[in-house]
């Protein structure tokens, strides 16, 4: 098997606050293979953004207590000095963010902002960098890229801005692109365009992609693997098909159940997951999902379930026996249709 591009081992990110220690990420282990697309799914506050901001070095030991390893091409990013990290960030790992409206600097022209990213990492003249920026804008499907490059972000639509962000992120041909809720702030039609664009560019640039989202339905068809996060931990990991068609964790059932489905238009009510995401200061003992889990039993309240593979790659952190899970999920699906 090939070497993983990114390997995160037992990552913990804890923020000290006046109210106590916020355990935003609490023992996270996963890997990203070269060229694959990994979907990271979870509610707000599940630690999905925090863990990748830490991978990027945008959350540092100044703000949080960080433990564990983040191996990128074999190098532990948590151990290298900030100056070296700066050369990796933006060049070999790049990131795009949720809100393209506010992620671009309102006072600088789009082309200049992209050229700036290029010039940090490459010795090129300003003119060449701007030419490269225009070329990148063309590749992300922005019409009249040379005119667009000379415009300010407020002259772009939301979808166009996200395209510009993607152009900026890919301008140095990174090995890994982290997309943090890339489509959440966009219209539904634009969402699909952006995800298709990311798919296409992943092949063109031969980069691995991590898509962070709270919307399982949006990303499932764009991802090779999915990992479901809850309270700073992975509760289920598997191929997109595994999670979409035979999820093994009650939380994943809840996520799937809460998706609006066009083919079930006759149903009037959505199915939310009952309860609220747990406080990350006082994480429930045992399985952190147990207060909201409809299938909870005694063991869940005391013992933390491990993320155990049931077949090959598919793993879930849940005490329920596999046979029960399959039976319950089959019943849930039957009840829904």
């Amino acid at each position: 098997m090939a070497e993983p591009l990114l390997e995160v081992k037992n990552l913990k990110v804890h923020f000290p606050t006046d109210d106590g220690l916020v355990k935003a990420v609490d023992g996270l282990t996963f890997q990203v293979m070269p060229g694959e697309t990994l979907g990271v799914v979870g509610e707000s506050g599940s630690g999905k953004s925090v863990s990748f901001l830490t991978v990027m070095g945008l959350i540092t030991r100044k703000q949080a207590i960080i433990e564990g390893e983040v191996l990128f091409q074999g190098q532990d990013l948590l151990q290298i000095p900030p100056d070296e990290m700066r050369h990796i960030r933006g060049a070999r790992i790049s990131m795009i963010f949720q809100d393209p409206m506010t992620s671009l600097h309102p006072f600088y022209k789009v082309g200049i902002q992209i050229a700036e990213a290029i010039r940090v990492h490459q010795k090129t003249s300003k003119k060449e960098a701007i030419e490269q920026a225009v070329e990148m804008l063309r590749r992300v499907g922005i019409p009249k890229p040379d005119e667009r490059a000379a415009q300010y972000p407020h002259e772009f639509s939301g979808g166009m801005r996200q395209r510009a962000m993607i152009a900026m992120a890919l301008s140095l041909n990174p090995d890994l692109l982290i997309a943090d809720e890339p489509t959440t702030a966009l219209d539904v039609t634009v969402q699909a365009q952006i995800l298709d664009l990311i798919d296409r560019l992943r092949e063109e640039f031969n980069a691995a992609v991590v898509i962070i989202t709270h919307d399982l339905g949006v990303v499932a068809e764009h991802c090779d693997h999915l990992q479901v996060m809850y309270a700073g931990k992975i509760v289920e990991y598997g191929t997109a098909d595994d999670i979409y068609y035979s999820p093994h964790h009650p939380y994943a059932w809840g996520l799937l159940g809460s998706i609006t489905r066009v083919d079930e238009a006759h149903k009037e009510r959505l199915h939310p997951i009952k309860g609220l995401p747990p406080s990350l200061i006082f994480v429930p003992p045992g399985c952190s999902f147990h207060p909201r889990c409809p299938y909870v039993f005694d063991k869940c309240k005391v013992e933390v379930p491990e993320l155990l593979p049931s077949d090959g790659h598919h793993a879930a952190a849940c005490h329920l026996p596999l046979a029960d899970k399959e039976r319950i999920y089959a019943e849930e699906v039957a009840a829904r249709t």
């Binding site: 700066r86 960030r89 933006g90 790049s94 671009l104 600097h105 006072f107 700036e116 300010y152």
Partner: protein
């Protein structure tokens, strides 16, 4: 943009007309002592008062009076343009006096502005980069001291310490470059500049700090960091660019306000500026002089507003005037 500027200039003119109307009403129609009595001197004969009244056109209807008054200001009088009239006490033309005074105020205001920007903005930046650090607390303590120390207190205290006790700096008074040379002028200006700049520096430090802290939390700063920019560049290019723009606005208005005369500083340090002139004119009842200073102050504030609006359009691309 050009159309916008022209339109704004016309509005400045309208504003100034309105201001002259109000000042006219205040100074000629409403005062407890009639201007003609004031001008005619002590215990005038009724004939003299009537004569003066006629000379000033005060026997005509109010609207005609104002017309004459505005015409004199906007089109000039026998002493040239703009018509600033003559002094009631010395009977001299006011224009050269006021220009001299304005130049002194200008030197005071601009020097102080340079000083408060050089002190306030760096303090604000350093504070913002390490909020709640020892430096930040000390700086914000200084800011509180600065905004709450009145010039009429600080001025004499500084004079006492640095001139009277230590003898490091010369005392009050204005020594022009032309007459006394640069060093003499500069040494005499240090204290007035510092005293005037303190409150502003404190305010600008607070404002820079607040703006920069806010800007550094913006998403585009995260993007700048994600690009791999050095922290220095993130702050200096991306953070400051956004946080200094509002400061330009305030600077314009503050400077505009000061050009009408830094009354207390000028009085404390015995500088022959516009503010001190206004005070002197009020005591001697020199009507035209008070009026001129009022109009000049109003003009600078109106004009500063216009300049700020135009500069802002260049600084913030989202603001475009049509």
């Amino acid at each position: 943009m050009l159309r916008y500027i022209i339109r704004r200039l016309l509005w400045v003119l309208v504003t100034l007309l309105l201001i002259t109307l109000i000042t006219y009403l205040i100074f000629f129609i409403m005062p407890p002592t009639k201007p003609e009595v004031n001008f005619a001197g002590k215990q005038p004969t009724p004939e003299l008062v009537a004569e003066v009244k006629k000379q000033f056109g005060l026997d005509k209807p109010v609207i005609v009076q104002y017309g004459l008054f505005a015409k004199r200001i906007f089109l000039g009088d026998e002493w040239g343009w703009p018509g600033l009239g003559f002094s009631f006490t010395t009977r001299d033309a006011l224009k050269p006096i006021i220009i001299d005074r304005l130049l002194v105020t200008l030197q005071l205001a601009i020097g102080a502005a340079i000083l408060w920007l050089m002190v306030g903005i760096p303090i604000g930046i350093l504070s913002a980069l390490r909020p709640r650090s020892l430096f930040d607390r000390a700086a914000m303590g200084f800011a509180l001291f600065g905004v709450s120390t009145p010039v009429f207190f600080l001025g004499p205290v500084l004079l006492y310490i640095f001139w009277f006790k230590l003898g490091w700096l010369p005392g009050s008074g204005f020594y022009s470059i032309a007459q006394y040379g640069f060093t003499e002028w500069f040494m005499h200006m240090i204290m007035p500049w510092s005293v005037l700049a303190l409150a502003y520096a404190a305010f600008y430090a607070r404002m820079t700090r607040g703006n920069l802290i806010e800007a550094m939390g913006e998403d585009y700063i995260r993007t700048a960091r994600a690009k791999g920019l050095s922290e220095r560049r993130v702050v200096m290019k991306h953070g400051l660019r956004a946080s200094l723009t509002p400061i330009v606005t305030i600077l314009g208005l503050d400077l505009g306000g000061l050009l009408g005369g830094a009354l207390i500083t000028e009085t404390v340090f015995n500088l022959p500026g516009l503010g001190a002139f206004a005070v002197k004119s009020v005591f001697s009842g020199d009507l035209y002089a008070i009026l001129d200073v009022t109009l000049i102050a109003a003009f600078f504030i109106t004009f500063a507003n216009l300049v700020v609006d135009i500069i802002y359009a260049f600084l913030d691309p989202r603001v475009r005037y049509t």
